[in-house]
Amino acid sequence: MSTTVVRPPQRKRETVERAVIRFCGDSGDGMQITGNQFTNTVALYGNDLATFPDYPAEIRAPAGTIPGVSGFQVHFSSSDAYTPGDAMDVLIAMNPAALKVNLADLKPNGILIVNVDDFGETDLRKAQMTSNPLEDHTLDAYRLFSVELTKLTRAALKETGLDAKSMDRCKNFFALGMCYWLYNRSMDSTLRWIEDKFKSKPVLVQANCLAMQAGYSYCEATEAFQISYEIPPAKLAPGVYRNVSGNSALAMGFVAASQKAGIPLFLGSYPITPASDILHALSAYKNFGVITFQAEDEIAAITSAIGAAYAGALGITTTSGPGMALKTEALGLAVAVELPLVVCDVQRGGPSTGLPTKTEQADLLQALFGRNSEAPVPVLAPCTPGDCFWIALEASRIAIKYMVPVIILSDGYLANGAEPWKIPEVSELPEIPVRFETNPVDFKPYRRNPETLARPWAIPGTPGLEHRIGGIEKQDVTGNINYEPLNHERMVRLRAAKVEAIVQEVPDVVPAGDPSGDLLIVAWGSTYGPITAAMKTVRTKGHRVGHVHLRHLNPLPKNLGEVIGRYDKVLVPEMNMGQLVMLLRAKYLVDAQGYNKIQGKPFKKSEIEQKIHEMLD
């Protein structure tokens, strides 16, 4: 076993370009916290990074079982990190179930740290293992470190006076300390975090700090590890950075939009994974005057936001698939009454409850067409966690400028994944002009701005503008109830033309990679990372490949058809059964090929590479 070491004269420190590390254990083992702390530390050090938190839908499945396994993967690099990484260099497995679920992704000769104290017979049985992998040579291909994590943590904490159970809860910090040693990282930011997090319970501050320091010292003292690694800071563009997840970026983006527009932000929402964190974040921003309304259901969530928009606020609503389905009818109302609204769908696996904590991109057609009758809406999709901030601003700006509900399609992977984000100056943010109608002279609620086709935003409380709106078909210009056949057709076409007019806001696409050639990859949403990573290696092999990543899914960029025409083949990777590809085939009469993965997991870089080769070799 690798733990029997011959003491090396001096331990090696090797500089590597990148590493992928995954912490996994039971849902109760604090793996998400551990992963987040590690992420923060490497971010502060200046590495580029991408993360992939993967946790079960059950809050606490029976301890030690396969369904209870929670994991957090971090890819950090001195160059770029577009994805959380296909395979790990280091795996920390807190119990047999975690080992079983995650081992397949560990690279050959990768570092495997296990808590040997949790590999007893009952632990193995809970993971449905018949023999102990630590002893039966299944792990021979890896550098195995069997560490007595529980015993060592207890030993380190014996002075704290905590009971055994509380001590055991600190063992994730022991493991984290080991990883900090392994990658030569300072523990400072985590020490600060612990102090802040447990400030009301000093004994827990002491215990968690001790556990982490003990993990670090353990590596130092036992010389179990003969080597440690150095990953220099990445050469990111100059600027001030922070870590953001997609959900926190969306929340900040909406606050920024409200500030730029100079109108209050109103969020109507009903809790649902993986969107709830947006509600949580915005609820804490009361100092920005943000109104958060946790409604009785998703219908009240969207309709309250429509009511707020009618009142002159920036009305938004956030949800995931099942909630999106419930909002359908109200979205149609927002289309009919032409009020600004932003609906944010953080997609997850479906149908129905599906895979609440796993990612998917299968709500695209629902977003585009999932309403009765002709009810077009603009649809936007962020491509990275940080991009969520900009998409929130863009969606709000379009909603207000065109008096239209806008859908944002994020997904579970963007929502929880994190990346370093270059903080913009407030002055760099786009302006969001708001004009409330005030002139009662010849006021007509459906008279349109000739450029945008938007109707006026005439909010209650404005003298002389009393008027009625509603879901019944309206007469063009006056907005009075009207059932005439030709008027209806005109209104249907006007609503569609208004959404089409937004194309003037959509920048022409410029493909990444080759501007023309063998293959164009067209994609949207969170597949940006793996495709970008795969593009690099494929192009070094002499293929002429371009990549267009759509942030606007309706209307599509003006020049998309022309760009598609410059390539021999078109590939559309999606985490669904082929939704964008269907649209592209229909709209551009192009023989685009889908590449579909519906496993609740993002694409791996290698999967995309392989598919490209399949198409080109």
Binding site: G46, P238, Y241, R242, A295, T303, S304, G461
Partner: protein, 343 residues
């Protein structure tokens, strides 16, 4: 002191629209519209501050006929839309027009949650005990056994008593009136307008097309005084053509008593709309379900000590801003651990 020119007082006409009214001739909705249009100008509120929100149904066409801001929304959702509006603009005077199907069937959930939150909305429930707009199916207030298009053999559904439901949801203001009792209806609307928090008013309304005579036993000239009891705060519960009947509390039961023969007004229950116990309001609300008892109209409950939802929300935002200072966007963006990459 500056001398401001007083605005010309509003009149009923100011609240009438040029839209052709599309209710059936004889529909009770006309009377309700007329009462609302009479009361609004009296309230001393500028016209532009009024907003009428409705769901879907015959009754929900109401906003089109009111010359105020109006929003005809979707079936059942008016309370939720109005909640968003009222929170965003607490200064507006927001009224909701809804039907028995709209408010109690598809919108039941929003109704109870609006009431428990005590959002400052005035809700007029047009209860015709039928689905009017969809041409005559039974509604959640239709009586058991009722024959309608969708219940040719009689309804097997137990109905809601809207008043009980509102009280059960801890509504702070619950009242009932009748389309044809114009004076009473207007008085009730004035009381409704004065309430802070959710006000829920059931208006018994006749649909002469699909459920004619639904409230006849209460509205017929001769039957009226025998079958209806008008509640007034601080007054004993007396009714009858000759004001000779009363309601007395006997243990935990109400009983109808004949005044005289040793029974005097002193023995009767005295109405207390601020009574803190739900049991009291429930007892009144359930009275009509017992044979031989009159149906109460008027204000059943008016609690004035519960803060309105929108005020709590505004106050909380104000408190946080006082404590933390107004939000600074640059600070928000730079919150947490940050690092600088130098050129």
């Amino acid at each position: 002191m500056s001398t401001a020119t007083l605005p010309t007082p509003l009149t009923k006409k100011d609240f009438q629209t040029d839209q052709e009214i599309r209710w059936c001739p004889g529909c009770g909705d006309y009377a309700i519209l007329s009462a609302v249009q009479s009361v609004f100008p009296e309230l001393g509120i500028p016209k532009e501050k009024f907003v009428v929100i409705s769901g879907i149904g015959c009754s929900s066409r109401f906003p089109y006929y009111m010359n105020t801001f109006g929003f005809h929304t979707i079936h059942g959702r008016a309370p939720a839309i109005a909640t968003g509006l009222k929170i965003a603009r607490p200064d507006l005077e927001v009224w909701v027009a809804t039907g028995d199907g709209d408010s109690l069937s598809i919108g039941g959930n929003h109704t109870i949650h609006m009431l428990r939150r005590n959002v400052g909305l005035k809700v007029l429930l047009f209860n015709n005990r039928i689905y009017g707009l969809t041409k005559g199916q039974f509604s959640p207030t239709s009586e058991l056994g009722k024959k309608t298009k969708s219940t040719p053999y009689g309804s097997t559904d137990r109905p809601f008593n809207p008043i009980s439901l509102a009280i059960g949801a801890e509504a702070t203001f619950v009242a009932r009136s009748v389309d044809v009792f114009q004076q009473h209806l207007k008085d009730t609307l004035r009381r409704t307008a004065a309430h802070k928090g959710s006000a829920y008013v059931e208006i018994l309304q006749n649909c002469n097309i699909f459920n004619d005579h639904a409230w006849e036993s209460l509205t017929e000239k001769d039957a009226r005084s025998e079958n209806v009891i008008q509640l007034e705060h601080g007054k004993p519960l007396i009714y009858g053509k000759n004001h000779d009947k009363g309601i007395r509390l006997n243990g935990l039961e109400l009983e109808v008593v004949q005044l005289g023969n040793g029974v005097s007004e002193k023995d009767l229950l005295v109405h207390d709309e601020r009574h803190p116990r739900p049991a009291y309001a429930f007892m009144l609300a359930h009275m009509e379900q017992k044979p031989g008892f009159p149906t109460p109209i008027g204000v059943l409950r008016a609690w004035d000590n519960v803060p309105a939802y929108e005020d709590l929300i505004s106050a909380q935002i104000h408190e946080v801003q006082e404590a933390r200072g107004k939000g600074d966007l640059a600070k928000l963006l730079h919150a947490g651990d940050i690092w600088e990459v130098r050129p």
